[in-house]
Each structure stands twice: as structure tokens, then as C-alpha cells.
Amino acid sequence: MADYKHIGKDFTPPDITGKVTGKAMYAEDFRVDGMVYARMYTSPMAHGRVVSIDTSAAEAMDGVVGILTADDLPAVEVPNAPILTNSPAYVGDPILAVAAETEEIAENAMAAIKVKIDPLPFVTDPLDSLLAGGPDAREEGNIYARSSEGSGFRTVKWTKEQIDEFRAGKEPTGEYVSEWTYGDLEKGFADATVILEQPFVTIGYAHMSMEPRTALSYWRNGTCFVHGSAQSQSFWMPGLARLLEIEIKDLVLISENTGGGFGSKIGAYPIAALPGWFSKKINRPVQLRVTREQEYYLGSARVGFQGWVKMGFAADGKVTAADLFIVEDLGPNATGGDASSAGGAISMVYDPGAMRFRGVPVLTNTTPRGAQRGPGQNQIAAAMAPVMDKAAKELGLDRLEVRKLNAANNATTAYEEQEPVTSAYLKEALDKGAQMFDWEGRQRLPKKNGSKVRGLGIGQGYHSAGTKGFDGLIRITPDGKLHIHTGVGNLGTYSYASTSRAAAEVLKCDWENCEIHHGSSEQHLPWNSYQAGSVTTFTHTRTNYVAAMDALRKMKEIAASTMGGAAEDYDIDGQQVFLTSNSAQGMSYGAIAARAIELGGEYSGQTYPEDINEITVRSVQSLAGSGLVGVAKDNLPQEGVIPGLACAFVEIELDLETGKYEIIDYVGIAECGTVLFPQGLAQQMKGGAVWGMGMASLERHVYDPQNGLPANIGYHQCGIPTYLDVPSVTQSSAVDIADPQNPFGARGIGEPAMGCSVAAMTSAISDALDGHIFGRTPISADMIVNHVSGREQSFLPMQTNNF
């Protein structure tokens, strides 16, 4: 284990003080002179066509400054989400916005606007649309398949018999739209000792980020300023510029702090551009206030699954084959793709010898879907855990041993292409977790205590956890300070800060001498990745590494040209560059920086590499001449899948009379390579644990099938976990074995941290109920009571979004 100065050590991220003093600014906290408030009118119905809008009364009101409708904005090809629409496709779809001197006036103006909407047929459950004769969510069709070969609408219908057999849990025979496969599936099942088939439903639910996505925008001398709620920083720029129909160089994005995203704010979303368009129209700064109700509508939701899986197991427990079929609930905008990812997750976590995936992406008129923490991977983790338990039972094997046998390791190959992994130690994670949790000991404890039963669960989570090809940018100024410019967004993971430590590590700088620049494109930031998909840790330790190595090379060259000898004769420590043969002969970093300014050229950023992104180029140009500049594109070698893995062990105590359970203990183990920031990792593992607990039993969409109206919009109705829903103490740890494809061995973890939790929960509930598999999340108390008392459930098999 390498001995690092910064990597692997806790530190105080610079933004935390603002968070505890109230000084941290989120988009809605900003005020500018002359600002007006905009409020949206959103669709009251699930699907319709706006026939007329009469704003005359509103426009005559004192204090009303302007109205914005879809006609003021560029047209968007269906089914992509427009900024405003005349063809609402879900309850909450924004139709127009009103700007006024106060919010009160805007609300009153809204009440005075007459909007006539003709209703259209709508869909709340994909199976209702797949059924022949059933409604379609869009006039263009009920399926929208996105692929590199060509995306488009289709109409796919199944017969009543096919729907019924799907509801009965049989292999679907209805038409599907996408497929991939590897290995010999038939042989895989022929070789199996135990074959299990399991239907499953995972109901989608809202992201419910704490911060509604209010945005503020104004124009100054042709530049559009946007204060937004963004997960990513520089990655937002091209998309936001496109939405505003301006060039990136004419856009400034300020997003220093974002109150949660969880996948709903990865790239610029249409609403973020609304104030910019509105501001341009009425020539006033506009703050679009998004309410909690609207955040439910616009703030994205997890893709729903209605699926079927068939797994083959050899006598020793090895997974020989997997066959997966998923009907995806893609919402109205066809934003999803979770189903194929779910297949990918199975191929990684359980490493079947052969596998097939088939999918049908169905549109519904429910809230738009999008990536949500482990999109696809975490739904399937929940569905698969009790299936693995059942296989173990039928084979007479231990549940932990079956998982260890199949666990992702250095020889694992994943996805359709059967790519190798950079490294994987899920078996070691399971061993560590079992030990911390005392898996052996807990199994010996009595199971029943009156009406209460104990359940023990094991869960595994996975998401790919890295990418490459982005830029790093750092700078040393004549005062000796190291400035780390990071285009990483700040959604609460502290990864913008922890990955910046990589530069300080390479240059052996004291952390007190480092300053991180982030949160606004005016801070001259490099082109960085999105903050999603657990990519940041791997990707940006690399970008900061290459930028620092570039600076290091330059510093040594400057030292050599100033003090004699060759660059190789020099080393660094204590913020000095000195002769290895005579450490007394050296220059301070500050002196090097001053010399860099004198020398110019690449040393001070006047020239720069040809392969860096245009955003990085502009940042370097702005910083040129201010010090020693280190800038580079991450061209380090990278091949194969970079995995983020995690496992969890949980004990619950379930009351058979009430269907409620208490979570007694939870242990989560991260397998994410070298641990960069221990406290930050613990936060992700514990926060992910809470998300998994919510998905397992609390959270889901409920839509009224008669009128297409959402039945739960607020926090409590949506079932967001509170302090009392989660255990008092959650434990976490990490395997902490370096990955060979990262300079520090680090990979990401944000999503597997949740997948292992929801999987452990469904496993534990099944264990408490003697192996019963509901094949459904969330598993609510009424479902448990109905099962225990032998009554029918209140929903149709495979029904979703309602009951």
C-alpha cells in the first residue's frame, strides 16, 4: 500500500464551511438588480393538445412583465423534451411561463390566463399500452427505440394471451425491439442443475432532489449568465449553449453548490434554458422559480421495469446461463436505456457463461424518466438477490458461498462484447463484509421472537466507474500557491475536491498551499466529464495527474535552464525544485512560477497542447501569463471495463402482524480501488444505503389510471426515507486494493453503494419470509401482510404505477 501525502487521507473540503454557515449559495439564493420572477403553468392532464391560450387579462395586470410560450422557442423533435410545449405528454409538462415583478403577481396572472387543452388518450402502465387496442402515450407510436443505427417511433402490440402469460410469469412471447447475446444459451441451460424463472416489477419513483431546479438568467453584452442547479460543471456547457442557441464562449454557468441530483441534473435540461430565453425576450433578468410540485414533475424519475429472468446454475452454484426480458417504462420522452444496462450488470456481477437480453421500451404519460443512481443496475440488483438466495437453497449451498463463487474478479468478462475488467475484487469485498457483519454468528441466532422474525440479506451492486479523454488544468503562481482548476460539478460528493488532491499529491504540495477553482465557468475551468455514472473519481484523478505531470516536467526544465544541468537532474519536495545531487541548490515553486511568466510559451500557457478541448483552450488563454501552467488531455492508456462494486449485509426484524420491519444492522463494503477520501467514501456508502432502503420498501409512483393524475407528489407521500426509516448506525468499509489503470488505483462508487443496499434488503425480506419472493419493489407492509395471511395482493400481477 503506497504511502501518500494526500490520497487516502481525510481533509476538509473547502465548500463545507459555507454549507454549515448558510453562506453557500444555490441557484435560488442569487439576486440581481431588476430581476423578475417567472412561474410556470404546467399541464393539468396526462396527454393533450393545446388549442388556445388567452393571456390578455394577465398581460393587462400591473406588474406583469411578459409571457413565454412554446411559440417563442425553437421547435424540438418529438419525443425529446421541449422547454415549453403545446402538446403536453404528462401531468406537469410546462406549457407557458409568466414573469412579473413579484411571485405573487405572477401567480395571480397565471390564474387569469385561459388555456384550452383537448385531451388525448394516455397510458400509465406499459402493459396497458402493449395490449392490442390499448392506448398509446404518443400519437406517433407507443415505442421509441434509440440506437446508433437509427432512432424512431414504432407501434408494438401484444395479444391478450401474450399479456396474460407475461402476467403469469412465463417467458414473454410478445414482440421485442432490442436484443443482444453472448455464448451458447441453449447449452448453458442444458448444463444447469437448477433453473429458476422469476418475473419481476420495479416501480419507478421520483428523484426528489432537495433543491428544486430554480434557475436565474440574464444577459450582459451578448453573454448569457445562468445560475443553475447542475450536477456537472463544464460538461453542462455545450448542452446548455445548444438549448439557448448560442456559442459556448457566450455562456457563463454558475453552479457552485447543487442540492442533490442523483442523475436528474447530469447535463443541461430544457428548463435550465427557459430563463435565458425569457430574459432575452423581455430584457430583464429572470429567475424561474420551480416549486416542489413542479420538481416532482420535471425532476426526473427512475425507469420502471416489468420483466422476466431465467437463470441456470451448475451443481457447484456457478451461473451457467441467464436470459433476461424487460419491458421498460420510459415515460413520455423516451429517456431510459436502463434495461440493457441491467443485462450488463448481470453479466458483471454474476458472470454467466452465456446470456441473452431482450427489451421493449414503452412510452407512458407519467413523469419523464432518466438516469437515477444506478439506472438499470440497481433495479436488477433488487430483483436478482432473492433469486440467488433461492438457487443456493435448491442447490443446498450457502448463500454467501454462491455469491463468492460467481463474484466479479480479475478474470471476469462483461457485456455483450465480453470485455475484460481493469480489476475487480468483489469476492474480497464479500469476505470483508461477512466478517464485519459476523455473517456466521448471526445465522446461528434464533429466527423467531413472537410475531417477529429475523431476516438476513446479502446484496451486490455494480456500475461502470470511470471514463477517459478529459482535460486537466493547474497553475502555480509567483506566491507559490497551487491553483487547481476543476470543471467537476458539486452535487454533494466532494469529488471536485478529492480528485483535485491528485495534483497536490504529484507536486507534493501542502494542502494549505492549494486553492481549488470550481463552480463557475468564469473560474477558467478545463473540459471535464459529467458527474454521474460513478465516473468522477477515476476520470479526474487522471486529469489532475496528467496536468500535474505536465507542470512537473516544465518546472524541471525551468530549473535546469536557470540553474544548469538537465531536467532529469532535478527533483521536488517541500515545494522546491532542487538538484538531486545537491538539495541546497534549488528554486521555490514561486520562483519557478515567476520564471515561467518571464519565459512565456508553454510554460505560462501562451501555447498549449493541440488536443485539448475548446473549453480548456479558452481557460488556458485567460490564465496565460499568470504563472506556471500545467495543462494536458488524459491520454493515459485505458482498456476494458472500469468497475465500481459493492456488497452489503443487512439484518432486519420483521413483524408478521403489521408487515413492518426494522433494520437492525447494515454493513456496506466498497470495492472501488484505492480509497481517495475515506470520509467521503463513507458518506457515499451510507447515503447509498439509505437510497436502497427507500427503493426496497418505500418509494414508487402511483398514478390514477382513470385520469392519469399522479397520486403522490410531496416528500412524505413519495416515501423518501427519514431518520426513523433507517438504522441508527450504518457501517461501511472498503477493500482498498489499487486498480492498475489509474495512477493512484482509484475507481468510482456512487451507484454500487445503493445497488448493494436494495439487493441486501430484498434478500433479507425474502429470508424473513422463508424464501418467499415478491418479485416486486417496493415491498410495502400491505404486501407482506397479504402474503402472511394468505390473501391476494391488491394489484394485478405485473401491474405498475398503480394498485
Binding site: P13, I16, V20, T21, G259, R292, Q679, A689, Y723
Partner: protein, 194 residues
């Protein structure tokens, strides 16, 4: 939940002052134009973090709105504006309240404390603020001011609570990031029990 401010008392107070309550979906006033100007005195004095602030306040205005938009105290956050999430928690006469569901006019004679008032005048952080830093309690930070105010009120009433007592006292503050464990660690640390 604050025992003094039951839902019944709140509704009675609202009806008694003949004012439309803030609607669940946002700042809302159907009756604004119907009221004669000057019917209620609008320029009032408030006691915020020990300071007297004079501010123009509409009768139906919520405390969260006044703090954030008129007094420049944006530390108090609006997560839902409908009394569900606790992000807007402030302390009024020693008791936690959801400022989004508190009419500003109702606190004219009371002492209101917000997150901005937790620090000492010389900038020294409150033990809870320091403990939250040491334990890396916040993630995105949006719920943090509310968590701090609930925790501060708790420790003022019960300086050495058990972890379970803390859990129950904090149950009115939702954290979507799921940082509950770290918040509990922070509060236990601030109470000197770690």
C-alpha cells in the same frame, strides 16, 4: 414536531387574522387585490438573530420568504414550501418551526434565530457547525441549515441526548442524500459524547 404549534392552533390563528393561508403549491394570494391598501400595518420590526430588522411584510407572507427575499438571509432553504421537509427550520423563542409555514406577522414579538445566527459575533463556529465539519455531516448541504437548527434546539433543551433521542428529535428534517448517519455522528460529537 413543535408541540406549541399544533396544526389546529395554526389554522385557528390564520382564520382569526382573516388571511388566506399559503397554498401547498407555492407562494399564493388569491385575495391580494381585494384587500384595501393600508388595511394592515406592513412595516414591522423583527428580532432576527438578536438584531432588530425593520421590514415591509405583507400579511400573508411567510417567515421563509421574508428571511430569504427581504433580509438577505438565504441560509434558510426552501425544499418544499409546504411543511414537509424541514429545510426551512428556524428557532422561534427556543422552539423549532418550519418557517415556510409560519406567518411573519405572527413572530413580531418573538426571537427568531436562523443558521446565520449560530456563529458567534467574532466568527467562531457553533460546536455543531464545527462538529458537522469534523464528521463531514453534509453532502449536498441543502438540508444542512435546517438540520443545524433542529440540532441546536435539541442540545439547548437536552445537552447530552442518546443517539436514539437525537434520531427522534431530528425526524422532521429530511435528507435526500441520506447523510443521516453522519449528521447523528456530528450531533453526538457536538454534545461531547464521541
Amino acid at each position: 414536531m413543535n408541540p406549541q404549534l399544533s396544526r389546529r392552533r395554526f389554522i385557528k390563528a390564520v382564520i382569526a387574522s382573516s388571511v388566506a393561508a399559503a397554498s401547498s403549491s407555492g407562494y399564493h394570494s388569491a385575495l391580494a387585490q381585494d384587500r384595501a391598501r393600508g388595511a394592515v400595518e406592513r412595516l414591522i420590526s423583527l428580532n432576527i438573530n438578536g438584531q432588530t430588522r425593520r421590514v415591509d411584510v405583507a400579511p400573508q407572507e411567510t417567515l421563509a420568504h421574508t428571511l430569504r427575499y427581504k433580509l438577505g438571509l438565504t441560509g434558510t432553504k426552501l425544499g418544499c414550501n409546504r411543511g414537509e421537509c424541514g429545510a426551512c427550520t428556524v428557532i422561534i423563542d427556543g422552539i423549532t418551526n418550519y418557517s415556510c409555514s409560519t406567518l411573519t406577522h405572527s413572530v413580531r414579538t418573538r426571537q427568531v434565530r436562523t443558521v446565520e445566527g449560530l456563529q458567534a459575533a467574532d466568527g467562531t463556529l457553533h460546536p455543531l457547525q464545527q462538529a458537522f465539519i469534523d464528521e463531514l455531516s453534509p453532502q449536498c448541504g441543502f438540508c444542512t441549515p435546517g438540520q443545524l437548527m433542529s440540532a441546536a434546539a435539541l442540545l439547548e433543551e437536552n445537552p447530552r441526548p442518546t443517539r436514539d433521542e437525537v434520531r427522534h428529535a431530528m425526524a422532521g428534517n429530511i435528507c435526500r442524500c441520506g447523510a443521516y448517519d453522519h449528521y447523528l455522528n456530528g450531533i453526538m460529537r457536538a454534545s461531547g459524547q464521541v
